[in-house]
Each structure stands twice: as C-alpha cells, then as structure tokens.
C-alpha cells in the first residue's frame, strides 16, 4: 500500500503558511467549541466564505477548516465540564461525568484528562484514516454510477437509523436537502428547474448561504429564547492534574471509546454526537460496577471524549475516498471542496495528493498543537465563557452578514440567508435535526447525476441498480441498518 500521498501531505502541511493556518484553525476551533453558542459547523460556516473570498488556496482552506473541526471537539468539553452546557452536540456526554468532577473541585483534572483522552482518540483515528483511506479508495475504484447511487441510499439509511430519535423527521430533513439541490440549471438537459424566471436562482441555492442561514441564524434565534431560562453558574476549575493511577485507570475506556468513535465516524451520515453517546453507554455497561458513572467517574469522561475526537477523524474516511461525508460537519467540508471545484473520490489521493495528504498530515500536526494549546491555555479559553451574549451574538450575526456579502456581493443573498435561517429555526422548533438537511444538500446533485448516468448506461433498465455484488451488498447493508433499531427494540421488549 502506498503512503506517498502522506509524505507529499507533510511537505505541504509543514510549509510555514500552512502551519499558521493550522494553528489559527486549532485556536479558533477551540474558541468556537468552548463558546456555548456555536459549534464546529457554525465556526466552519462563518470562516469558509472568508477564506474563499480572500483567495486562500484549497489545501490551506481545508487545513484551516480541519483545525476548526478538531479544535471544536477539544473546546466543546470546556463549557460541558464547567457550565454543564455542551458547546456542541458531540460534547453532551462529556457533561455527564465531567460536570460532577468539576463540582467536586476537580475541574482542572477533568479538563486535563479530557484533553489527553481527546488527543489519544484523535491521534489513533488519524492513524486509522491514514491506513484505511487508501484501502477504501482502492475498493472505490470499482464503483460505477449505479454503485454510487446505492451508496448514497446506504448513507441515508444509516443517517435515518442513527441520528435522532425521530426517524421520520430525519428522512424529511434529508429529502428537503435533496429537493433544494434540484433548484437551478440542470446541466444534463439545459433545463431550468424551479427557478421561476428569477436569475438569482439560475445557479441554484448557494452552499454558503444555506449553511450560514440554517445554522448561524437559527442558533441566534434559539438562544434568544433560551436566555429566559435563567443565568448559568461558572464553576471554578481549581488546580490539579490527573494522577498516573487515574490515567492508567482510564486506558481501557479511552481505547474502547476510540474504537467505537472511529467506526461510527466512518459510517456515512453519523458523527461525533452518536459516537460519544454510544461510547458512554458502552463504557457504563462494561465498567460501571460500583455505580459511580454520572457522579464524576473519570472513565465516564474519558470514553466519550476519546470517541468524539476519533469520530471526527473517522468521518473523513468516507468523505475523502467516496465523497460521502461521515457527519454534518464533514458535509460542510465536502461543500467547501466542491466550492473549489474539487470532487473527492479515490482519485483524490493520487491526483491531488497535496489536498488529501495535506489534510491528513495537518491532522497529526493539529492534534499535537491542540494538546500543546489546551493544557497551558485552558484558563484563557475558560475566560471566554464569561463573554456576555450581548457582545457575542451581535458579533456572530455580523460575521454571518459579512460572510455572505463578501462572497456574493449582493444584499438579496443576505435576505435569502435570513429567510433560510427562519426556516431552520422553525425546523429545529419542530424537533428536526439540521445535519440531514445539509447531508441531503451536498449529496443531492451527486445522487441524481449517478442515478441518471447509471440508467443511461443500462438504457433505462432499473436492473443495473442491483447488477453488481457491491450494489447488492450495499442494499443489504442499507436494509440491515434500517431494520436494526426495530429488531433491537423488539429483543429488548421481549427480554
């Protein structure tokens, strides 16, 4: 197996300006993760238009955004542990044992432990990504249009069965995202679809406008509601570092969390939030003999923290090799690649090694930077939790306006973004998760194109969708993941 792409990547990632982009990304990501209001998607959505407008090259942009993604997984733990308010969805489980630890005056120990667990999870998963991605890439070379179409079906199936507890809403979200991609010029036939003679719609809905509107604007509206629920109490972090005994006590939890996180991250459509939840519940079942989980057990903190960082690495595997994102955040990064006219896939590793390799290499570097940033600078990030909403939220909204305006130079784009933001707010109030919408949106064009290409090859014969072993395996897997929750529930009910 050739790892040439990785050496090319290190050469790219170690260039001075790319190191700076990586460092900047890690720093901003930790900030974004730590702030209770905004998670990794918001951070990436707000930075992407800037990088694009400023003409930052694609590989540097990806390094920057990956740093934000990784940094946010580190930063998310700070508000989870000290405020009991998760900075993002992947950090929900961190609060269960992290916050009790802080209440016992072991805040500093909890922060350091979660930093170390994140580091191990992140490093091992990047190692997995390094070895696994070219392998999967080789398998993907055998993929034709029919296989890609069925792969997308599989991605939506895993999404439906794993994300959220309301599968119908997950499916509706994905379908809405798919429907949005049909707006605009259809390149195959030259037909304008759903444009209503509006020139602004000829190119379809722009990705940046959709992401910023959907996530940033709706987030601010939700926060406006939440502030009525009273003020938050910041715990003091105290002093201390986990003892060697504690660290040794957590080794198993970290390794199990990493394994679970990586596998779940690799599955298309599922990311850090699912991974950390599964890791926590698994660890509780295995290790919680004396009932200490939920009361400040370090293992209950280490497992989900390792898992959410491992999932972040794993999610890049299908995104880079197959062009199918493993999570909502990687879906946004896929959108970023497409914005630069780069189509991910097996060829990415051979034809654009500076992008694939640069990204992977930057993750190794990023993890080390993050550990180095986080252990000494944690006080600085903690202080940011005290930044009042009346400064933070106008700033986020201003950045949202600026991101759209600097990319499209039109106030109509800003209005479209705001309208999408209102829709995003309504959907979230109705109990929808927004990640499926984004996933549907980035996969929609590819899904339709591959379906049409497949049927063009077969002359309209639907049999081609079941015509190869890969297709049949993917159909079977899709059926399995869809049925699994029902079967498990039945077993639990009869047991």
């Amino acid at each position: 197996m050739s790892l040439d792409y990785l050496w090319t990547g290190f050469a790219v990632a170690l260039q001075g300006h790319n190191l700076l982009f990586g460092l900047l990304g890690c720093f901003l990501g930790t900030m974004v993760g730590a702030l209770p209001a905004i998670g990794p998607i918001n951070g990436i959505a707000l930075l992407l238009p800037l990088a694009y407008t400023l003409g930052v090259p694609a590989e540097s942009t990806m390094i920057l955004l990956a740093g934000v993604y990784y940094g946010a997984e580190y930063g998310g733990r700070i508000s989870s542990i000290l405020l009991n308010v998760p900075g993002d969805a992947g950090a929900v489980m961190t609060a269960l044992d992290g916050n009790p630890m802080a209440r016992q005056g072991r805040g500093a120990e909890a922060l350091a432990l979660s930093g170390i667990a994140s580091f191990v999870g992140g490093m091992l998963s990047v190692l997995g990504l390094t070895l696994f991605a070219p392998l999967l890439g080789r398998l993907a070379i055998g993929f034709g249009p029919a296989e890609y179409f069925v792969l997308m079906v599989f991605a939506f199936a895993t999404l439906t069965s794993m994300v959220g507890d309301q599968p119908i809403k997950t499916m509706i979200g994905a379908a809405l995202g798919l429907a949005l991609t049909t707006i605009g010029l259809d390149p195959t036939s030259g037909a304008y679809r759903f444009t209503f003679d509006e020139p602004e719609l000829h190119d379809g809905i722009e990705f940046i406008i959709l992401v910023i509107g959907l996530f940033s604007i709706s987030e601010v509206l939700l926060l406006l509601e939440q502030q009525h629920r009273g003020t938050l109490q910041l715990l003091s972090i105290g002093r201390g570092f986990p003892s060697l005994a504690t660290l040794r006590h957590c080794v198993g939890a970290v390794l199990r969390g990493t394994g679970i996180g990586f596998v779940i991250g690799v599955l298309p459509g599922t990311g850090a939030s699912v991974a950390s939840a599964v890791a926590y519940t698994t660890e509780k079942r295995i290790s919680d003999r004396s009932g200490t989980f939920g009361k400040g057990d370090p293992r209950g903190l280490a497992a989900p923290e390792a898992a959410n960082n491992a999932a972040a690495g794993g999610a890049f595997v299908p995104m880079l090799t197959l062009g199918v994102p493993g999570s909502g955040t990687t879906a946004v990064m896929l959108g970023a690649l497409l914005l630069y006219n780069i189509q991910p896939g097996p060829q990415l590793f051979t034809e654009r090694p500076e992008i694939a390799g640069g990204l992977v290499a930057s993750m190794y570097i990023g993890n080390i930077l993050l550990l180095a940033l986080n252990l000494p600078l944690v006080q600085l990030f903690v202080r940011m939790l005290l930044l009042p909403n009346w400064i933070l939220l106008p700033g986020i909204l201003t950045l949202a306006f600026l991101g759209v305006y600097s990319t499209y130079a039109s106030t109509l784009s800003i209005m479209i973004m705001l309208a999408i933001g209102v829709v995003g707010y309504l959907l979230r109030k109705l109990g929808f998760d927004l990640a499926p919408v984004i996933l549907g949106f980035v996969l929609g064009k590819v899904m339709e194109t591959n379906l049409r290409n497949a049927l063009a090859i077969s002359g309209g014969e639907l049999g081609i969708l079941f015509g190869s072993t890969i297709c049949l395996v993917l159909w079977a897997l899709a059926g399995l993941v869809l049925l699994a929750p029902f079967l498990l529930r039945r077993r639990a009910a009869t047991a």
Binding site: M171, A175, W390, G395, Y405, S406
Partner: protein
C-alpha cells in the same frame, strides 16, 4: 422540551400534548402541500431534449412522492416538538428577524457602518445589554469589523448609496 402548562389545567405531559391535536399536525399538512406543489412544478419542467433516459423531471418527481409519503407519516405521528414562543418572547423573536431584514435592506443604502451599528445595538439590547452597553457595543462592533474587513482583509464594504449618491 417542556413548557409551562396553561394555568389551571391539569399537568399534562408536554410530549403527549404535542402529539395530539390539529395544531401539532399543521406543519405536516404544510409539508404535504409543499410536496404536491413541488411535484406539480416538476411535472412541467420545460426541456427540449435529454441525453439520458430519465431526463430532468424524474428525480424531483420521485422526490415529491417520497416527501408526500413522509409528510403523511409525520401527520399520523407528529412526535415531539418544542412549544412555540408566546407573548413577549414571540415579539422578540419576530422583532429580531424584522430587524435583520431591515439591516439587509439598509446594508448598501445607509452603508455598513450605520446599518451594522444599529443592528448590533438592537441585538445587544435584546440580549439584556443596558442602554449604554448596547450603544457602545453596537458602534464598537461596527467599527471593529469595518476596520478588520476593509483595512485588514481588504474586502470592500458598502459606504452607503444615500451618501455617495451612486
């Protein structure tokens, strides 16, 4: 997920409450209408030729059928939803949206500095800033981002057509 129940009524599980009634199903019906309209529009997409057997209509048509089925499934089991904002809170949410649209409209007319200073001050006030904090914060943020973008990043921002006359 839980909202305060109406005064005087027995304590009802908000999840169950959200699961019943026509109001909880209204969004599903709206989605159904949307799916039908989407399918109708898809069936009339004009095209002269297509190089593939499916053409530009088939995918959106199929999608509209899927969306319609999902909407019906949603109407049958509405599931959990959060309570809608009411009273003063509803007023604030609508106000923030209206202010944002107004700012977008003012953006190249009054220019970035004025539009954003007003916007940031307004949003700050909604997030419990005092009057002084809101005004100082609004002006401060507008100037800060103006300097960062036009001087630091060299991205031009509108100076306001009302003043430059263009």
């Amino acid at each position: 997920m839980s909202g305060p129940g109406a005064a005087g009524t027995a304590v009802v599980d908000p999840v169950v409450r959200a699961g019943g009634g026509l109001a909880a199903r209204l969004p599903a019906f709206v989605l159904l209408l949307l799916a039908v309209a989407y399918g109708f529009e898809a069936s009339r997409i004009p095209y002269a030729f297509a190089s593939d057997p499916l053409g530009p209509r088939a995918f959106p048509l199929g999608l509209s059928a899927v969306l319609a089925l999902l909407a019906i499934a949603w109407a049958i089991r509405p599931g959990q939803a959060e309570p809608w904002p009411q009273g003063a809170l509803l007023f604030e949410v609508v106000g923030l949206v209206a202010l944002a649209f107004l700012t977008a409209w003012l953006f190249d007319r009054a220019g970035f500095l004025i539009a954003m200073a007003l916007f940031c001050a307004g949003v700050a006030a909604m997030f419990r800033a005092t009057l002084v904090q809101a005004i100082a914060g609004g002006i401060g943020q507008a100037v800060l981002w103006w300097v960062v973008f036009t001087k630091g990043l060299r991205i031009p921002l509108p100076t306001g057509s009302w003043f430059t006359g263009s």
